[in-house]
């Protein structure tokens, strides 16, 4: 096996050096009856040529990856500068462990410190952690944290939160004594804000809102913060399309208490749903309640600045069952990708990418809304995703566009909401050209 440095001969010599005569003796402490007495029934070894051929062929069977795409709903196609992949492919980053030895991990530690700062700047919050698994699990952790902070057990979530995020939250809270209620969205606007403000009471730990919400609609976060705080509840804001932070008022400026987001939009390929990176930010006063790792500034005896993992007394390796979370390994390398992306695009690039998303989506929506048989059912302002109501069942419509026109035109809402047969969610980003949008419009008009 070419990944094992020692030759079979060297291994025999090493066995002799420790007083053994066969490799089998290495496993003498395992009772013989428990040892596997046959070879594993997994496939035989492939050479590099054979392996690449296999995976290339499997990759080609994913027709969706080759088509012009307007798919969003929590996973977005954005421009990724070439240098992102080069930098995350540096051995020093991708083959390093968690930075438990700061003297030889300052690269990773300073990157995380910059990541935490960037997340704070974008969300308008005081502090951010070193990352969570993804947006959905970050939201679940935010709900658990809201219960810890307020010692209240009722959590009211917008029904216009990404349905898979809601499923994950339900799984996480099922044994935590949390009572999760849903506030429905308005059928005309697509917004859940009013229903959430109505539902919050003095038993409520937190209201959970996504903005832009699952339908792409922008919620009024300032009004929700006021409504939550008037009852002593927290406002938890979830964001699946982090690019919106380049244009929309930050949740922090609106008064949010915990902000979570999926960071995939920042330099991370679609990769069939992962690995992505969860962003988690909150207020200074909750620093000791936040889940996950934190990196902070520290100095050595000569007064030189460095960075260390800090406030570890919240974490599982010290606090065990009393920890703020069980999370250990998070998404370090993907947080690095997001950091490289945000620093490369920079202040102006994030603004321009967000602006292009907004304008291209508006252009697409305007043109689709003019087609016979098509309408936009929700009236609220949207960022780069919007719901279209078509003249036929959207699963069928989308399948025809995929096969006949090689366009992934959107996501059928009936996959998540059984009563919305003709509705589908369309996402437009800076990577969609006018030519692609025009082709989509023309394909829809010819149905």
């Amino acid at each position: 096996m070419r990944y094992i440095p020692n030759s079979p001969e060297e291994r025999v010599e090493m066995l002799e050096a420790i007083g053994l005569t066969s490799a089998e003796q290495l496993f003498d402490s395992i009772p013989e009856a428990l040892r596997l007495q046959r070879p594993l029934e997994t496939p035989a070894a492939l050479s590099e040529i054979e392996l690449l051929d296999k995976f290339e062929r499997l990759g080609q069977q994913n027709a969706a990856a080759r088509r012009a795409s307007f798919l969003g709903a929590g996973a977005y196609s954005h421009y990724i500068p070439t240098i992102v992949d080069h930098i995350i492919s540096r051995s020093e980053f991708f083959t390093a462990y968690t930075p438990y030895q700061p003297e030889i991990s300052q690269g990773t530690l300073q990157v995380i410190f910059e990541f935490q700062t960037l997340v704070c700047q974008l969300t308008g919050m005081d502090l951010a952690n070193a990352s969570m698994y993804d947006g959905s699990t970050a939201l679940a952790e935010a709900v658990l944290m809201a219960e810890r902070v307020t010692r209240r057990s009722k959590v009211i979530s917008s029904a216009a939160v990404h349905p898979q995020y809601l499923e994950v939250v339900k799984t996480y809270v099922q044994h935590a004594g949390i009572d999760l209620e849903l506030a429905d969205f308005d059928q005309k606007t697509g917004l859940a804000g009013a229903a959430l403000a109505e539902a919050v009471d003095d038993q409520t730990a937190a209201i959970v809102v996504q903005s832009p919400n699952f339908f792409g609609c922008v919620e009024d976060l300032s009004a929700l913060a006021d409504a939550a705080h008037a009852k002593g509840a927290l406002l938890v804001v979830a964001i699946t399309e982090a690019m919106s932070l380049g244009l929309l008022k930050s949740p922090g400026a609106c008064g949010a208490d915990i902000v979570v987001a999926e960071g995939q939009s920042f330099g991370v390929p679609l990769s069939f749903g992962g690995p992505y990176v969860g962003l988690f930010a909150t207020r200074d006063k909750y620093a000791r309640q936040i889940p996950g790792r934190l990196v902070g500034e520290a100095y050595d005896k000569k007064g030189r600045r460095g960075f260390v993992l800090t406030l570890a007394t919240r974490e599982q390796h010290i606090r065990r069952e009393k920890a703020t979370s069980n999370i250990c390994t998070n998404e370090g390398l993907i947080a690095l990708a997001a950091t490289v992306y945000l620093e490369t695009m920079g202040r102006r690039g994030i603004q321009e990418a967000a602006h292009q998303c907004l304008q291209k989506a508006a252009y697409a929506a305007r043109r689709i809304a003019k087609l016979d048989g098509f309408s936009l059912p929700f009236a609220a302002p949207y960022f780069n995703e919007f719901v279209v109501r078509g003249p036929l069942n959207s699963v069928e419509l989308l399948s025809r566009l995929a096969k006949d026109n090689a366009i992934e035109a959107g996501i059928a809402l009936s996959r998540f909401m059984p009563d919305r047969d003709n509705d589908f969610l369309v996402c437009v980003t800076e990577t969609n050209t006018r030519e692609q949008i025009d082709a989509l419009v023309s394909a829809l008009s010819e149905l």
Binding site: S91, A128, T171, S271, F272, I327
Partner: protein, 513 residues
């Protein structure tokens, strides 16, 4: 202070500020195509009250060259597997092949949206299915979900499965079964995951030999409240729990289930299977045993494997094969639910399958043998100079202590820091918690004999230094970019983000003229 010692590597130390301190207004690192659609007035699309009014003040403005140099300079401050041996116990820092990285970047996977139709993502689903089959065979546990994103996430999933199973079996009476037994040598994630699933934790003692205390286990199992046991095997002392079958029987007879923490599976692949030992559910760490890169703290992937009996409780969707096609099965009414959006950390699954197929069934066993051999070789090589608290031969990792060196005031932390001066990454220190001054060493199969000899020589040399010149060890490391950092001060007054320095004129309004 470093002359005369044999250094395997050197640590480069150029200076590099934070990107925010490098930022210069007007610098640009990107270019997008010009907007090719008619623009609308932004006010007509998003009312001003919903838009940012801070102009993203403080976000960096740098050129592409600035970005590249910034990250490359920082990268030189990191130790990495590609530089040398990374003997962190319980972390399995083995070689991360470039081939696997290449596979994960193939366009047909990298550009595939997770909500694409099943028929248009068959290749991707086949990868999940084939990896499931391999892992089921390796663990001897046929039910499997690849959805969990890391080891702790897999633990949470497995423990929730146990809870759902007991609730289904006992109904309301299951409320009396809420105790999870965990050995005192376990990873901290175990009790934290048990707590998340609503269990209270009771700790099982280890024997003087470093194994689970069967008498104590029987005693704890006598009260009818045990939901299960979470056991790492080989345990975190590197010792195989040779009574595992008996342990499983005791827990099963008490009405509980056995969860195995698979962090140490690198000692067992191809040699023994948890399913054959009586284990009901296990998580694997693909970022350990199956070589997906650790990435400075993730991403991981923590598949959960279980018995046929527990299979209905696995997260949804399940990836199944029917009529020659791969599809998503959401119709699992007993499922604990979804633990992550989409399918989990898919890119890690591609790498792990590439690892498994590159090794082949015989290569997988060969890797296990080589990993255990390397660990035993180190155990043999260091026994003369360091205290080895347990006599039994270790599996893939071995624990030593600072007992002899501490007589001179040199402790585990100092030995670890001094090892950095010799060009190595230190071993895991002060874990497991039950061994005072623990040094847990896991070389993995990815280290050759010369490097093992160099490591042993470095450790022996440090043991000599501890006797002859303890101050040298206490002050280590001596030639890294920075010395030991004041972590206590960092935690007392945490600075967790960069902030712009407030200009004096703004800070003191009185000075405004």
């Amino acid at each position: 202070m470093t002359s005369g010692i044999t250094k395997v590597t050197t640590h480069i130390s150029p200076n590099e500020q934070l990107i925010f301190e490098r930022s210069q207004a007007g610098r640009i690192g990107y270019r997008l195509p010009a907007l090719d659609v008619e623009e609308s007035a932004v006010d007509d699309l998003i009312p001003q009250q919903f838009r940012r009014d801070d102009d993203l003040e403080g976000m960096p403005e740098v050129s592409e060259v600035d970005v590249v140099r910034h990250f490359i300079r920082m990268s030189t401050w990191n130790y990495s597997i590609d530089l040398g041996m990374y003997p962190l116990g319980s972390c399995t820092m083995k070689y991360n092949s470039r081939l696997n990285e290449h596979v994960a970047r193939i366009a047909g996977f990298a550009n595939l949206h997770p909500l694409a139709a099943e028929e248009d993502s068959q290749g991707a689903l086949q990868v999940i299915y084939e990896l499931q089959e391999c892992l089921a065979e390796i663990t001897g546990l046929p039910g499997i979900s690849l959805q969990p994103a890391a080891g702790a996430h897999g633990e949470m999933t497995g423990i929730m499965i146990i809870r759902a199973f007991l609730d289904a079996r006992h109904g309301a009476a299951a409320a009396g079964r809420r105790t999870m037994l965990i050995p005192d040598s376990a990873h901290g994630t175990n009790p934290a995951s048990a707590h998340l699933s609503g269990f209270s934790v009771k700790t099982i003692r280890s024997t003087a030999e470093g194994l689970t205390d069967l008498d104590h286990l029987r005693e704890l199992c006598a009260h009818g409240d045990v939901a299960g046991l979470m056991l790492t095997n080989p345990n975190t002392l590197g010792l195989f729990e040779r009574n595992i079958k008996q342990i499983c029987d005791i827990v099963h007879e008490a009405g509980g289930l056995v969860y195995m923490d698979g962090a140490n599976m690198n000692a067992l692949v191809g040699v023994a299977r948890p399913g054959d030992m009586g284990v009901d559910v296990i998580h694997l760490n693909l970022h350990k045993t199956f070589s997906t890169p650790h990435g400075g703290g993730g991403p991981g992937c923590g598949p959960c494997c279980c018995t046929k009996e527990l299979e209905p409780f696995l997260p949804v969707p399940r990836i199944v094969k029917a009529d020659g096609a791969f599809r998503l099965d959401h119709d699992q009414p007993k499922s604990i639910g979804r633990v992550k959006a989409f399918f989990g950390n898919y890119g890690m699954m591609l790498r792990a399958l590439a690892y498994t197929l590159t090794h082949g069934f015989d290569g997988l066993r060969e890797a296990t043998e080589a990993a255990v051999l390397n660990s035993r070789y180190i155990a043999e090589g260091l026994t003369s100079d360091y205290d080895k608290p347990f006599n039994s031969p270790p599996m893939h990792e071995v624990v030593f202590t600072d007992k002899r060196q501490s007589r001179k005031g040199v402790h585990t932390l100092d030995i670890a820091k001094r090892l950095i001066d010799y060009g190595f990454h230190p071993m895991t220190i002060y874990f497991p918690l039950i061994v005072q001054g623990a040094m847990l060493i896991e070389p993995t199969e990815s280290v050759g004999r010369q490097e093992l000899d160099q490591f042993i020589a470095a450790m022996r040399s440090i043991a000599r230094e501890a006797l002859e010149d303890p101050e040298l060890v206490l002050g280590a490391p001596h030639d890294t970019r920075i010395g030991r950092l004041d972590e206590a001060a960092a935690a007392r007054k945490p600075v967790l983000r960069w902030k712009p320095q407030v200009a004096e004129a703004e800070a003191t309004p009185a000075s405004v003229s």
